[in-house]
């Protein structure tokens, strides 16, 4: 446009050495942009606390158990992040997972091929989500009301599918394998290695893109530290999961539960969509300022419909995972989990005010909720105490969000 380009008067946040970068990050945190930091710290504190207070917590069996327990919740919460970023809500995500699981189990009982049965469950999610999305975006009814109606109606649907007081066992070994079988030790390490290599590659690829455009990169030390941390952290988890956790030597149980790679793939896929695609950018834009998004030529209605479809589809997948864990589906499955899912996302740092939230935050928040459940259960507290504490943690997280919001706005010059 013009010729008087003065070189880089304006920074990009990538400038400066290690110290400047760290100071920049601390300033960000101080100004209230904490992301998942509080949840991360909370997770560490809880883990240490339960390790000290319960002898069972750190055993190989419970460690693997924790992942199995958290998987359903985390997948559901990841789907909810999409709607929460739009400042919408999906109260029916839990019962959607229930309906999907119900259709899955009915299909299996009619000797439908397990892959087809799973597809039926997933398509159920797509259809439900599209329906909710159209009602919210085109008719213009608040999502709270629409999904509350769906929450009630789908319970009825589930009841009709399963039958009053009914319960269907899952006999299909492939579906059961999702939550009950593990990768072999070798497969586990191969999965680990591939993941770390991809992580390393994407880190260096991003730097290469920037340097090709003559843009400054952060000190490379940060990338090294990140890769080493991920490698060490991953190795610890894989090793722990590869420990023998069966008390019966005749039936050895070890290895990464199959559900973990599934959750990781969903997470990477979702994060990619949110961070690296036009669609993801538009989701954040609509969540931040729908009017600005509309004026920028973004089809707000389409984005909303797509987001509700994604959420319900993810909920359906969560339903499949849940059915696999429980081993059966009854008429009330999934009824209460949606609130835990929202709690997980909010505890992780997803804002209820829209515009902000990442899938990684849902994962961390999901672990916080799951670890409270798991740890308190091990220590013999009854579920009353458990719920009270989960509620308190949620309130704490929501206050942190609100306070950081206030502090953040006070920083504006």
């Amino acid at each position: 446009m013009s010729s008087n380009l003065e070189n880089n008067v304006i920074g990009t946040g990538h400038e400066g050495g290690i110290r400047e970068q760290i100071n920049g990050y601390l300033l960000k945190v101080k100004s209230g942009d904490m992301g998942s930091l509080p949840a991360m710290l909370g997770l560490i504190v809880l883990a240490v606390l339960f390790s000290v207070m319960s002898p069972v917590f750190l055993t190989a069996l419970n460690f693997a158990n924790l992942f199995n327990q958290a998987a359903t919740l985390i997948v559901l919460a990841m789907g909810l992040v999409f709607v929460l970023v739009l400042a919408e809500i999906d109260l029916s995500a839990g019962v959607t997972s229930g309906v999907a699981a119900a259709l899955l189990v009915i299909a299996l009982h009619h000797d439908v091929n397990w892959i087809v049965a799973i597809l039926i469950a997933i398509v159920t999610g797509v259809v439900i989500g599209y329906f909710i999305g159209v009602i919210v975006a085109k008719v213009g009814i608040p999502s709270f009301v629409v999904t509350l109606a769906c929450f009630l109606a789908f319970q009825g649907l589930q009841l009709l599918i399963i039958g009053n007081g009914g319960l269907y066992r899952i006999e299909n070994s492939q579906v059961l394998a999702i939550q009950n079988s593990n990768l072999t030790i070798l497969q586990g390490w191969i999965f680990y290695l591939v993941s770390i290599l991809l992580y390393t590659y994407s880190g260096f690829a991003a730097r290469r893109r920037r340097s090709r455009n003559n843009q400054t990169n952060r000190p490379i030390t940060f990338l090294y530290v990140k890769i080493v941390l991920a490698a060490v952290f991953g190795a610890v988890i894989v090793s722990a999961l590869n420990l023998e956790r069966s008390s019966n030597k005749a039936f050895p149980i070890h290895g990464i539960p199959i559900v973990i790679p599934i959750v990781i793939i969903l997470f990477v896929l979702g994060t990619f969509v949110m961070d690296r695609t036009k669609f993801g950018r538009h989701v954040y834009a609509v969540g931040g300022n729908p009017e600005a998004a509309r004026r920028a030529g973004i089809r707000v209605t389409g984005v909303k419909i797509a987001v509700f479809t994604i959420c319900s589809t993810t909920a359906a997948i969560s339903g499949i995972i849940s059915a696999s864990r429980v081993g059966s589906v009854d008429a009330s499955m999934g009824r209460t989990i949606v609130l835990n899912g929202v709690a997980a996302a909010v505890v992780g740092g997803v804002s209820l005010f829209g515009g902000k939230g990442r899938l990684s935050q849902a994962v961390i928040g999901g672990f916080v909720i799951a670890i409270i459940d798991n740890g308190l259960g091990l220590m013999g507290f009854n579920s009353g105490i458990n719920l009270l504490i989960t509620g308190a943690v949620l309130l704490l997280a929501a206050s942190a969000d609100a306070i950081s919001r206030k502090r953040g706005s006070a920083v504006i010059r």
């Binding site: 304006i10 942009d33 695609t277 036009k278």
Partner: protein
């Protein structure tokens, strides 16, 4: 293109809503590299005139020439394809996104199916430094952390990201403090220096006289004055705005 041909030229533009005639045969012209101020009291028809140019509410009658050619402006899309950008008073930025993301919102650059962050960041930086913007620390700052003046800067920079020929600014200094107003006015001047035709709507005559080359005054749907800023003064303009002065001085 010779500099005497206006980028946009309106002749006898009329617009009415039901029985109310809002624009009663308005002539208006803007030239490249000049700041053209459009002033007038509330209800004089400024917004209606601008909405017509923006393609939101097409005019009922009258001719619109763009770079000397007769056209009919009937959609915002056409307007933006001509290189006309409107910066509305309420800016329409997404607070939760950073400067680069806001500047490219709705027209993201894609490389192999994914966002080309690096290229967008580069172009955003170049556009901002091209406008000699120095108040912004980093193009990756979230817009919610910016001051009013900085936000206005981002909105204007967003408007000139592409090959923009005309930028319409609606009350760019209305909500700003003194220092920030100075920054934005300097930016408006630089925009014109780069050859962009700038239309500035403002109530603040002090600001208008600081940057405008030409001042148009609307009074009850009629263009009552089109003056060179150098050859007039605030008192005259106030006279035209309030209707106490009504000589046609169209030059």
């Amino acid at each position: 293109m010779s500099s005497s041909v206006p980028v946009i030229e309106l002749k006898g533009v009329e617009k009415s809503f039901g029985a109310v005639d809002v624009l009663k045969g308005v002539d208006f012209a803007v030239e490249a590299g000049k700041v053209t101020a459009l002033v007038g009291d509330n209800g004089a028809g400024k917004s209606t005139l601008i909405k017509g140019l923006a393609g939101i509410q097409p005019y009922d009658k009258g001719s619109v020439k763009f770079e000397g050619k007769e056209i009919s402006i009937d959609s915002p899309r056409l307007v933006s394809s001509l290189g006309i950008e409107v910066v509305y008073q309420d800016l329409a930025l997404c607070d939760n996104l950073d400067i680069v993301q806001n500047m490219f919102l709705g027209r993201e650059e894609i490389f192999r199916g994914t966002l080309n962050e690096s290229a967008m960041e580069k172009k955003a930086s170049e556009t901002l430094s091209g406008l000699s913007v120095r108040t912004v620390k980093s193009v990756r700052q979230k817009v919610e952390r910016l001051s009013g003046g900085q936000r206005q800067t981002v909105a204007i920079a967003r408007a000139v990201l592409r090959d923009t020929k005309v930028v319409i600014l609606d009350e760019p200094t209305a909500a700003l403090g003194v220092a920030q107003t100075e920054q934005v006015l300097a930016l408006v001047k630089r925009l014109a220096d780069q050859g962009v035709a700038v239309i500035m709507i403002s109530h603040n005559l002090v600001d208008v006289f600081k940057v405008a080359d030409k001042i148009y005054v609307l009074y009850l749907g009629k263009m009552v004055a089109a003056l060179d800023a150098k050859s007039t003064n605030q008192n005259d303009i106030v006279g035209y705005i309030t209707g106490t002065k009504s000589t046609e001085v169209a030059k």
